[in-house]
């Protein structure tokens, strides 16, 4: 597909908006009963909304991502891996009197100051087994028990948003994450070389795959994404050319220079995903996996292995937020992990598998406010099994709140279809403006 072809396709959303307008006039009476918000949704506001879900694999230590340096027990529990307090060298970046962000999360903190990033400091999936693999399964499948369903909740949410293809989704990475697997076809993309030179081959294979339920849709989707990728990568190259070196290298300021070398790529990856999402007829929903958070030994504090991973996350988020431009105001990003880590430092200057952790919500579409959910504190009596941060919010409630208030998914579908058997888990209120 050439760039011109894609430009031509760009007309179709406009046409459909005009058609929707005419349709809306015919439904005038109904509209009054629907209320302003429902009206807007029914008339294509959903088409502007963007949702990015980032899964941090390995059990991200919430007490380092958003260190509760104001909590009386934090320093003693954490020992050598405690993040220093506000204003100290390498100290936490202040959010409120209790919480800060890890010092490697500078760009995220700048968003937080503007009310465009909030923390959810004690959230957990319903799984309590402390197994990576079970917990990731529950996080991504959205089931209440492990291996309860083989599709992902984000895929079923797409199903709930309308007929197949209405809201398009993409995952970043060479393999398909569970969260986006399911009946609705989703694109996938990863950086790297595209197909080779034989222009006949995709057509020949398309014919061979005509009745192949696995390869057929995958090839078709892959080819369409290739066409978008050409434009996305060109757009990012153009905007990068206009940036100064210090902008490109921003982030991870507290890290030694040698450790910052992966950060420009992370930023670029975020910007490229943004370019996929801002193209005409672009992807509205994206799933991203970032791994490397299983810090059993020598996890570090201001510096160290976890700081490096968090700087990577920060650079990715920065690239995504800047790349989305005006669309950032219609975007919600949720970052979550399968479980948190032990409140106490372990015997090897790391932390073991725990329970509740911190999730982040970001975006111009957020409602301003403090932490989402309650903070149980780290008082010994409040620790879950005298070991972990106690959960105060069900992860599904957070996801449900975002899907309801940002993507307009109705409660009944959230309770039964997207998160089966979760009627007792209320959507988190007041996250999205």
């Amino acid at each position: 597909m050439t760039r011109e072809d894609v430009a031509c396709q760009a007309i179709s959303p406009r046409l459909s908006r005009r058609q929707a307008l005419w349709g809306g006039l015919g439904l005038g009476i109904t509209v009054q009963f629907m209320g302003a918000r429902a009206y807007a949704d029914s008339q294509g506001a959903l088409a502007q909304k963007k949702l990015v879900v980032i899964v941090c694999r390995g059990g991200l230590d919430g007490l380092s991502l958003s260190p509760p340096v104001g909590d009386a027990n934090y320093g003693a529990l954490r020992g050598a891996i405690a993040i220093p307090g506000f204003g100290e060298v390498g100290g936490a970046l202040k959010l409120d009197d209790t919480f800060g962000l890890h010092p490697a999360m500078g760009a995220t903190h700048a968003l937080a100051v503007k009310g465009q990033a909030r923390i959810v400091p004690a959230v957990a999936t319903p799984d309590r087994e402390r197994s990576h693999f079970e917990a990731q399964d529950v996080l991504e499948s959205g089931a209440s028990v492990v291996y309860g369903t083989s599709s992902g909740w984000l895929n079923r949410a797409l199903e709930a948003m309308g007929p197949a293809g209405k809201v398009k989704a993409i995952s970043v990475g060479p393999t398909a994450p569970l969260i986006l697997r399911g009946p609705i076809e989703a694109a996938s993309w990863s950086p790297g070389g595209a197909a080779g030179g034989d222009p006949r081959l995709p057509g020949i294979l398309g014919d061979l795959y005509a009745h192949d339920p696995l390869l057929g849709p995958a090839l078709a989707s892959g080819m369409a994404t290739q066409a978008m990728a050409k434009i996305a990568v060109a757009d990012v190259a153009q905007s990068e050319a206009a940036m100064t070196d210090s902008q490109v290298n921003a982030g991870g300021a507290t890290l030694a220079p040698v450790l910052r070398q992966g950060l420009p790529q992370a930023r670029k990856l975020g910007a490229t995903l943004a370019a996929f999402m801002t193209q005409p007829d672009g992807k509205q929903v994206a799933a991203v996996s970032i791994d490397g958070f299983d810090t059993h030994a020598n996890q570090g504090a201001t510096q160290g292995q976890l700081a490096l991973r968090l700087a990577y996350v920060d650079a990715f988020l920065d690239g995504l937020a800047s790349g989305l431009g005006p669309s950032w105001n219609n975007t919600v990003v949720v970052l979550a992990t399968e479980f948190g880590r032990t409140a106490r430092v372990n015997g090897t200057a790391g932390t073991d598998h725990g329970t509740a952790s911190t999730a982040l919500v970001l975006g111009g579409a957020l409602k301003k406010g403090g932490i989402v959910g309650d903070w149980p504190t780290l008082a010994q009596a409040r620790l879950f099994e005298n070991r972990d941060t106690a959960p105060t919010l069900d992860m599904r409630g957070l996801f449900k709140g975002v899907l309801r208030d940002h993507m307009g998914v109705e409660r009944a579908k959230l309770d039964t279809q997207v998160f089966p058997g979760s009627a007792g888990v209320a959507p988190a209120d007041g996250v999205v403006a």
Partner: protein, 459 residues
């Protein structure tokens, strides 16, 4: 369902083996099961490298490098870039090992034996995505896995769990009993040391009984206590870089794990636990499911699982007997190819089909990365996933197509793609794909179509 020997020999070589070399399906034709059973041997799998560097040597190199780096830092030598140095070491050592492994797979006459070894290497994953284990995945496989893959599971389990690569990958080497002599000594100096339960948990969850076996957090912690002391000799100690038992770090006392009591026994305490874990019916079931899932279908037939489980229990975990049961089970020969190849399997079978031995790791590594299976770098201790949905993402199919084109252009030479297809798939080659290859405009296009055909992408 009875299937003819044409199809059965094709299945033997492409599903249970690593893909057909020229003439291999014909060689299996008279007795497909016997062809595979003959590959089972007590001495285990082939070694990819003769006289390979040992894990101990690699560790010692790594530690020496760390010390040099520290010294350089103290001397203010800013030019020694540790990340670049480590990256070079990683590329060189890991590259040599990985190339040897893919060359073995691409060339061996015993494809089933190698697949069986790769299965166990993945079951006991040590990943290069951790710096300290980056250069020892190959040696780990050579020393701990390959010699034991047709022996007793218990021996394989102990070999894996006591190997320095595993002890470091899952943080066991530094785990210290809170009431041990070492911990008391450290406490006097004000240093807090203690337990790390990572390896203990993964042995139970991933390597033996499985997460549904009904054990608790307390069982995991008790096993972690029993395992304290399993460690590695330091640079200045005898047998540097090898397994050692540190009595002073061992948590004293008896332990209770999954309802069984284990008397104090030093190093033997954890071995006694492993013996019982290996003998557990939960382990028999867990392993049977994994074998059936890898060799036959993501959603494995329960009857096959039951057969494998019974073979394991009846023989006290003799893996050669389990392998033979797999080969002689009717479920393994289902005419439908249910498995979608992983990138490693796809590349290996492509090399075999084209009769090519890979030469250059610099050409292979980026391809493995792009297809989502970075060399020796499984994403977690769970190893590489099996499910087709993971590997058949749209992006991955595009990357496979791009590689096939580039590979076919170089590899096909003056050979006839139709003949290559017949050699590679035998009776599994569908009339539609055969016809499409026959109509290809060029030889490279014909080979690309073969490699990307639905039946070649599956096994």
């Amino acid at each position: 369902m009875a299937i003819d020997r044409d199809l059965k020999s094709a299945i033997a070589v492409t599903r249970l083996g690593l893909g057909a070399k020229d003439g291999e399906i014909a060689a299996a034709h008279d007795d497909p099961e016997g062809y595979l059973i003959a590959q089972i041997r007590p001495e285990g799998a082939e070694q990819p490298q003769a006289n390979a560097p040992t894990a101990a040597e690699r560790f010692n190199e790594f530690r020496a490098y760390q010390q040099e780096r520290q010294a350089a830092k103290q001397a203010g030598d800013v030019k020694t870039d540790p990340v670049k140095m480590a990256a070079r070491m990683l590329r060189d050592d890991t590259g040599v090992d990985f190339l040897a492994r893919v060359r073995l797979a691409a060339g061996t006459d015993a494809g089933f034996r190698e697949r069986w070894a790769l299965f166990w290497a993945n079951h006991f994953t040590v990943s290069a995505n951790k710096l300290v284990t980056a250069t020892v995945v190959g040696p780990f496989e050579q020393e701990a896995i390959r010699p034991h893959v047709f022996g007793r599971f218990e021996d394989l389990l102990v070999a894996s769990s006591s190997h320095p690569a595993m002890l470091l990958y899952l943080d066991q080497a530094q785990s210290i009993g809170p009431n041990s002599i070492a911990a008391q000594f450290q406490a006097r100096t004000g240093k807090h040391v203690g337990l790390n339960e990572n390896l203990a948990r993964e042995i139970m969850e991933l390597h033996t009984v499985g997460v549904d076996a009904g054990y608790s957090q307390a069982d995991v912690t008790e096993f972690a206590r029993a395992m304290t002391g399993w460690s590695i000799s330091g640079l200045r100690e005898p047998d540097a870089g090898r397994f050692t038992f540190r009595d002073r770090a061992h948590e004293p006392g008896a332990r209770t794990i999954m309802g069984r009591r284990y008397a104090e026994g030093g190093e033997g305490q954890a071995r006694a636990v492993m013996k019982d874990l290996a003998a557990s019916p939960h382990t028999a079931h867990h392993l049977a499911v994994k074998i059936a899932r890898h060799f036959v279908a993501d959603d494995p037939p329960p009857t096959l699982v039951a057969r494998l489980q019974r073979a394991y229990v009846d023989t006290n975990g003799q893996l050669g007997a389990v392998a033979k049961t797999l080969i002689t089970s009717p479920e393994a020969w289902n005419p439908t190819a249910a498995k979608f190849k992983t990138p490693y399997e796809f590349l290996v079978s492509s090399w075999r089909a084209a009769g090519v031995l890979p030469q250059d790791i610099a050409a292979i590594a980026p391809v493995m990365n792009a297809m989502g299976q970075k060399a020796f770098s499984a994403p977690s201790p769970k190893g590489w996933p099996e499910e087709k949905e993971v590997w058949c993402a749209p992006d991955a199919v595009i990357k496979r197509m791009g590689w096939s084109e580039a590979f076919a252009a170089k590899a096909v030479g003056d050979r006839d793609p139709a003949q290559l297809a017949a050699n590679a798939l035998g009776a599994r080659l569908s009339p539609l794909v055969a016809k499409t290859i026959a109509r290809a405009e060029t030889r490279p296009e014909g080979l690309s179509i073969l490699l990307m055909s639905p039946e070649f992408q599956r096994r």
